[in-house]
C-alpha cells in the first residue's frame, strides 16, 4: 500500500480523480437534496411551468406581454430589457469615459482637475447608492401637468422623460438595428481579412457600397414598418394631466442608464488614461517631426494606439458593467434578474429558474467577451507596429 502511494503517477491520478469526484458529488448531492425538499413542498420539478401563464404585470417591455403570457415570455422580456439597458448604458459610459480620459491626459491643468474630481467622486461611491440617488432626483421632477416642453419636444417629468420618436413598429426598428450591427460586424471582418490586401481605391469603394447599403436597408425597414395613418414623427404634447405621443422613458430605466453610464464612465476613463500614458512619447514626437497638427497626432496616432492597448482591459470592464445592470432590481426595473426573482416568488420553481438565470448570464457574458475579442483581433497591432 505504501509503495503504491509513493508511485508518483498513481498518486497524481488518485488526487485528480478525488478532486473532480468531490466537486461532482457535491453537485449531485445538492441536486438530490433539493429534489427531496421540493417534493416535500409538493412542487413538481422540470421546465413545464415555462408554458404556464404568469399572472403578473411587467412595467416595461419591448415586446408584447400581458398577464396571460407564459413564463418563458416573461423571462424573454427580462433578457431583452437587460440587453436594451446594456446597449444604451455601455456605449454612453464609453463616450463619457473617453472624454474624461482625454481630459485627464490633455496637459491642460483645469481639464485635468475637473476630470480627476469626476472620477474620484463617482468611483468611490457604491453603484446602488448612486442609482437610488438619481432615481430619487428623477421622481422629484415636476408632475406632467406642471412640466413644460423644451426644444420643441422634450419634457422632463416625475413620471418619465418624454422625447420625440418615429411612428414605426417595434419589429421594424429591431430589424433596422440588426442590419446596422451586422453591417458593422461585416465591416470589421472585411477590415481584418480583405481590405489590407486590396488597393486603397478598391477598398474605399467597397466601404462606401457597404455603408450605403446598410443605411439604405435600415431606412427601408423603418419605412415598411410605419404605423399607418400617423405622421412620421411622433412628438410629445401635453393633454390634460399627462403627455401623449412621443416616447416615454420611465424614471426606472432613466435612473439605470444615468447611474451605470456615469459609474462605468469613471472606470473607463481611468482605463483610457492608462492607455494614453502607455503610448510611447516617441510616437507623438515622430508625428510632430513629420509636421502633423495636434489634432492629427491625437486622432491618427495617440487615440488609435491607446484604444488598441486598452482593448483587453476594456472587454473585462464591459462584462463587469453588464453584470452590474442587475442592480436595477433596487428600483424595480424589470431586468432579467428582477423577472427571475419575481418568478421564483410566484411559481416556487427555484432551482430551474436559478439555472436559467445562471445559464443566461453565462451565455450573454461569454457572447459579449467573444464579440469584443473578435473586434480586438480585427484591430489589434500586429508584429512590430508598436514597440514600447
Amino acid at each position: 500500500m505504501a509503495a503504491i502511494l509513493k508511485n508518483r503517477r498513481i498518486r497524481d491520478s488518485v488526487l485528480q480523480v478525488a478532486f473532480v469526484a468531490t466537486i461532482l458529488l457535491t453537485i449531485v448531492v445538492a441536486a438530490i437534496t433539493a429534489r427531496a425538499n421540493l417534493d416535500a413542498q409538493g412542487l413538481t420539478s422540470g421546465f413545464g411551468f415555462l408554458e404556464r401563464s404568469t399572472g403578473w404585470r411587467i412595467s416595461f417591455s419591448l415586446i408584447e406581454y400581458s398577464t396571460s403570457s407564459p413564463y418563458w415570455k416573461a423571462i424573454l422580456v427580462g433578457i431583452l430589457n437587460s440587453l436594451f439597458l446594456g446597449a444604451i448604458a455601455l456605449p454612453l459610459a464609453t463616450v463619457i469615459g473617453v472624454t474624461v480620459g482625454v481630459m485627464r491626459t490633455s496637459g491642460n491643468g483645469m481639464a485635468e482637475l475637473v476630470g480627476v474630481t469626476y472620477v474620484e467622486t463617482f468611483r468611490n461611491v457604491p453603484l446602488i447608492l448612486q442609482l437610488l440617488f438619481w432615481y430619487t432626483l428623477l421622481l422629484a421632477l415636476p408632475t406632467p401637468r406642471d412640466a413644460t416642453l423644451i426644444l420643441g419636444g422634450i419634457a422632463f417629468t416625475g413620471r418619465g422623460i418624454y422625447i420625440p420618436g418615429l411612428n414605426v413598429t417595434g419589429g421594424s426598428a429591431f430589424v433596422a438595428t440588426v442590419v446596422v450591427i451586422a453591417g458593422a460586424a461585416l465591416a470589421l471582418w472585411l477590415k481584418a481579412r480583405r481590405w489590407p490586401d486590396l488597393n486603397l481605391v478598391h477598398a474605399r469603394r467597397e466601404r462606401r457600397v457597404l455603408w450605403g447599403g446598410v443605411v439604405g436597408l435600415a431606412v427601408v425597414a423603418m419605412w415598411i414598418g410605419r404605423i399607418p395613418e400617423t405622421s412620421l414623427m411622433s412628438i410629445p404634447e401635453q393633454r390634460g394631466l399627462n403627455f401623449r405621443e412621443g416616447i416615454r422613458i420611465s424614471p426606472e430605466l432613466m435612473a439605470c442608464i444615468i447611474a451605470i453610464s456615469i459609474y462605468g464612465g469613471a472606470y473607463i476613463a481611468e482605463i483610457i488614461r492608462a492607455g494614453f500614458n502607455a503610448v510611447p512619447k516617441g510616437q507623438s514626437e515622430a508625428g510632430r517631426a513629420l509636421g502633423l497638427t495636434n489634432w492629427q497626432i491625437f486622432s491618427r496616432i495617440r487615440l488609435p494606439l491607446a484604444v488598441r492597448i486598452v482593448m483587453p482591459t476594456l472587454i473585462n470592464q464591459y462584462v463587469w458593467l453588464f453584470k452590474a445592470t442587475t442592480i436595477g432590481i433596487a428600483i424595480s426595473f424589470t431586468d432579467f434578474f428582477m423577472v427571475i426573482s419575481t418568478a421564483i416568488n410566484q411559481s416556487g420553481q427555484t432551482l430551474e429558474l436559478i439555472g436559467i438565470l445562471m445559464g443566461g448570464f453565462l451565455i450573454i457574458n461569454y457572447s459579449i467577451a467573444w464579440v469584443l475579442n473578435r473586434v480586438n483581433d480585427a484591430i489589434k497591432l500586429r508584429g512590430t507596429q508598436l514597440r514600447i
Partner: protein
C-alpha cells in the same frame, strides 16, 4: 553670464502658464472648465452650506428652506451607524467598528506584511469585533445578528468576507495552476463560471436557494450564507489576481528552489507566494475597495446595512422629503473609507514601481 540664465525660470507663474495657458486654445478650454467648476461649486455650496439647516429636530425650518436639510442627519445618524442595535449598547458597536478600522489601518503598515503577523492581527481583530457585537460573554448583554445593522453590519460583512475569502483565494490560485491537468482545468472552469455571474445573483442564490439544497444541519443563518457566497465570489476574483502575480515571477525562482531541494510547501510558502503578493499588491487593494463598495448589495437581499439604514432613517413620514440628504451622508461615509484605501493603493503602486528593476 551664467549658463542657467539662458533657460526660462521655473517660477510658479511660468509653471501655471504652461499648465493652464500654453496656447490660446488652452486658455479658452481652461476658462470654460473653470467657469463650469465654479458654477457647480457655487450651486453645491448654496444648497449644502449657505441655505442648509443643520441642527437636530428642525423639521419645520427644513420645510421652509431651499437648501439641504442636514437636520435629518443630526437627528437620525444613530440609525445609519448602528441600525437596530439596542440604544444603551451602541457604544459596543462603535468600539467594535473602531477596532476593525484600526486593524485595517495596521494592515497597511509594511511591518505586518508577513504570514506570521497579518492573519493573527485580522483573526484577533475580528474576534474582538464579534465578542463586542454579539455579547453574551464578560457580562455583556447578548445581541443577536438580527439586531445588527448600519455601518457595523457593513464592516462585519466586509471583514468576514476578507477573512474567509483570502485563504480560499490562495487555495483556488494554487489549484488553478496545479501541474495536474484535471485539477487545474476543473478549477479554471469553476472560477470562470463564478466570475461571469453577477454578485447579486450569487448572494441571492445563497440567501434564498441554499436552504433547499443543503442538509438541515448546514443551513445556518441567512447572513452567514450570504457571507459565504460573497467570500466565494471574492476568492474567485482574488485567485486570478494572485495567479497573475505568480505568472509575473521569473521561472528561475521556482527552478532554483527546486534545485535547492525545497519541498512544495516550502517553495510556495517562502518563494512563490511572498513575491506573488508583492506583484499583485495594487490589484489586491483595488479588489478590497470594490469588495467594500459592493457590500451595499446586501440591501437588496434584505439586510440592514449602512445603505438600507440610510433609507430607513429618512423613510418615515417626518423625514421622507430629505432622502437626498441621507444618501449624500451615506455616500460620504463610503467615500471616506473607499477614497482612503484607493489613495493608499495608488501610493503603493508608485512606491513599488520605483523599486522595480
Amino acid at each position: 553670464m551664467s549658463f542657467a540664465a539662458d533657460f526660462p525660470k521655473d517660477s510658479a507663474f511660468n509653471k501655471a502658464k504652461a499648465r493652464y495657458f500654453a496656447t490660446p486654445t488652452d486658455a479658452v478650454v481652461s476658462a470654460l472648465f473653470a467657469a463650469f467648476a465654479v458654477w457647480i461649486l457655487w450651486s453645491l455650496a448654496n444648497w449644502a452650506l449657505l441655505h442648509a439647516v443643520f441642527g437636530a429636530n428642525q423639521r419645520d425650518a427644513c420645510m421652509a428652506t431651499e437648501g439641504a436639510c442636514w437636520s435629518v442627519v443630526s437627528t437620525r445618524w444613530r440609525i445609519v451607524l448602528f441600525g437596530l442595535y439596542p440604544f444603551e449598547e451602541q457604544w459596543r458597536s462603535a468600539i467594535a467598528c473602531v477596532v476593525m478600522v484600526v486593524v485595517a489601518a495596521l494592515s497597511c503598515v509594511p511591518w505586518f506584511w508577513s504570514a506570521r503577523r497579518l492573519p493573527p492581527l485580522w483573526i484577533a481583530g475580528f474576534a474582538i469585533f464579534y465578542v463586542l457585537m454579539r455579547g453574551g460573554w464578560f457580562g455583556l448583554r447578548e445581541v443577536t445578528e438580527q439586531n445588527w445593522g448600519g455601518l457595523s453590519l457593513t464592516i462585519f460583512i466586509f471583514a468576514a468576507v476578507s477573512l474567509l475569502g483570502m485563504p480560499l483565494a490562495i487555495v483556488f490560485a494554487l489549484l488553478r495552476r496545479s501541474d495536474l491537468p484535471w485539477i487545474a482545468r476543473t478549477m479554471a472552469l469553476v472560477i470562470d463560471v463564478i466570475r461571469s455571474l453577477p454578485l447579486l445573483s450569487i448572494m441571492f442564490t445563497f440567501a434564498i436557494v441554499m436552504p433547499f439544497v443543503l442538509p438541515d444541519w448546514a443551513i445556518g443563518d441567512k447572513l452567514y450564507r450570504v457571507i459565504v457566497g460573497y467570500a466565494l465570489f471574492f476568492a474567485c476574483y482574488q485567485a486570478e489576481i494572485i495567479r497573475g502575480g505568480m505568472q509575473a515571477l521569473p521561472a528561475g525562482q521556482e527552478e532554483a528552489a527546486k534545485a535547492l531541494g525545497l519541498t512544495y510547501w516550502h517553495r510556495i510558502g517562502y518563494i512563490v507566494l511572498p513575491q506573488a503578493f508583492r506583484n499583485a499588491l495594487p490589484p489586491t487593494i483595488n479588489q478590497f475597495v470594490i469588495t467594500f463598495k459592493e457590500t451595499s448589495l446586501v440591501t437588496i437581499i434584505g439586510f440592514f446595512d449602512v445603505m438600507a439604514s440610510g433609507r430607513a432613517a429618512s423613510g418615515n413620514a417626518d423625514w421622507n422629503f430629505a432622502t437626498i440628504e441621507m444618501y449624500v451622508f451615506v455616500a460620504l461615509i463610503f467615500f471616506v473609507f473607499v477614497f482612503t484605501l484607493s489613495r493608499y493603493g495608488a501610493y503603493l503602486e508608485r512606491r513599488l514601481g520605483v523599486g522595480r528593476r
